[in-house]
């Protein structure tokens, strides 16, 4: 067996759940491998210390709850408890998540609207600027009847 395989079997070795041959092989490996010796010491400590001698006891009132539920009287109480549990554990986080998502949605929408307004006002400024820079002023000097002159007259007509 390789080191890795042996390491995996240490707990079963401690619980004496391996065959004679496997146990002998692991014993031999432990004599040579310091790492596995350290690991088995740690494992054995935790595994044996936590031997489950201690049994836990239910609350003395548990039978009352059970008999009430069996009689159907606890249905209301249990329902209230379930609703409370649902609100505390499911509805509240879900509501928080919904508020966050809604906030994000409103934020994105508002952001888009502000950006669109800004863009359209910028476009208007640019269009006015470009008109003044490249538009009528440059065509005004052209003689009427020429192509440039006709275009300038047309733009002036459209602006009016």
């Amino acid at each position: 067996m390789k080191h890795k395989e042996i390491r995996k079997k240490l707990l079963r070795y401690l619980d004496a759940e391996l065959s004679q041959e496997e146990r002998a092989e692991i014993r031999l490996h432990l004599e040579r491998c310091e790492q596995c010796r350290k690991d088995i010491k740690l494992l054995s400590g935790a595994w044996n210390l936590s031997q489950p001698i201690r049994r836990v006891q239910p609350s003395p009132l548990l039978w009352n709850k059970i008999s009430l539920q069996l009689e159907g009287k606890a249905q209301k109480g249990r329902l209230v408890h379930k609703v409370e549990l649902f609100v505390r554990q499911t509805a509240r986080p879900a509501l928080t998540a919904a508020v966050v998502v809604l906030g994000l949605f409103i934020g994105i929408k508002l952001g888009n609207r502000v950006m669109m307004t800004e863009l359209s006002s910028r476009q208007t400024v640019i269009s006015l600027q470009s008109q003044s820079e490249f538009g009528l002023e440059n065509f005004r000097a052209l003689s009427p009847g020429s192509l440039g002159g006709e275009l300038a007259a047309l733009m002036e007509y459209e602006n009016e």
């Binding site: 390491r7 995996k8 079997k9 240490l10 707990l11 079963r12 619980d15 759940e17 690991d39 740690l42 494992l43 400590g45 935790a46 595994w47 210390l49 936590s50 489950p52 049994r55 836990v56 006891q57 239910p58 609350s59 548990l62 039978w63 709850k65 059970i66 008999s67 539920q69 069996l70 554990q89 499911t90 986080p93 879900a94």
Partner: protein, 184 residues
Amino acid sequence: MKESELIEKIKGDDGTALRTFYEIYKDMVYNVCYRMLNNRQDAEDATQDVFVKAIRSVHRFRGNAKLSTWLYRIAVNTGLNYTRRKKIVAWLSLDFLVGKDEYFPDNAQAGPDLELEKNESEALVQQAIQSLPPRQRTAVILQRYEELSYKEIAEVMKTSLSAVESLLHHAKDNLTEKLTALLK
């Protein structure tokens, strides 16, 4: 009172028999639920469910298995359902974001050194057991804490003896790896 007699009386809704049934099996059921859920309150809720389910469906108990085996089966299934529900609730509650340690036993108390060390060891072993896949976890709990034989585990889990052997084999190998990592 004989087991068959007790069952008949439970079927007849005899109040004293119901109480006797509860008194006999309450520790067994509660401990299985506690080991599966690692939390006293959840274990108590699950125990309540187990007894209510058992009493309400006792007419379906045919006596093929021992009453304790049948109850173990209900307890294990209820425990597994609660675990699944807890996982969903934890996910919805976003507990994983705050790194809540759900495995630390809630009854660990500071005491003398050995007691403290025992509690720490128990917490680590519990943490490692809780991280096993459900069927492996169930087999380990039934073997380690309830001291059931392979045959009894097979009956509770409705599986074959060789399947139990294989489950425990893999569970122990996984536990070795997990515990070694936790202990370092």
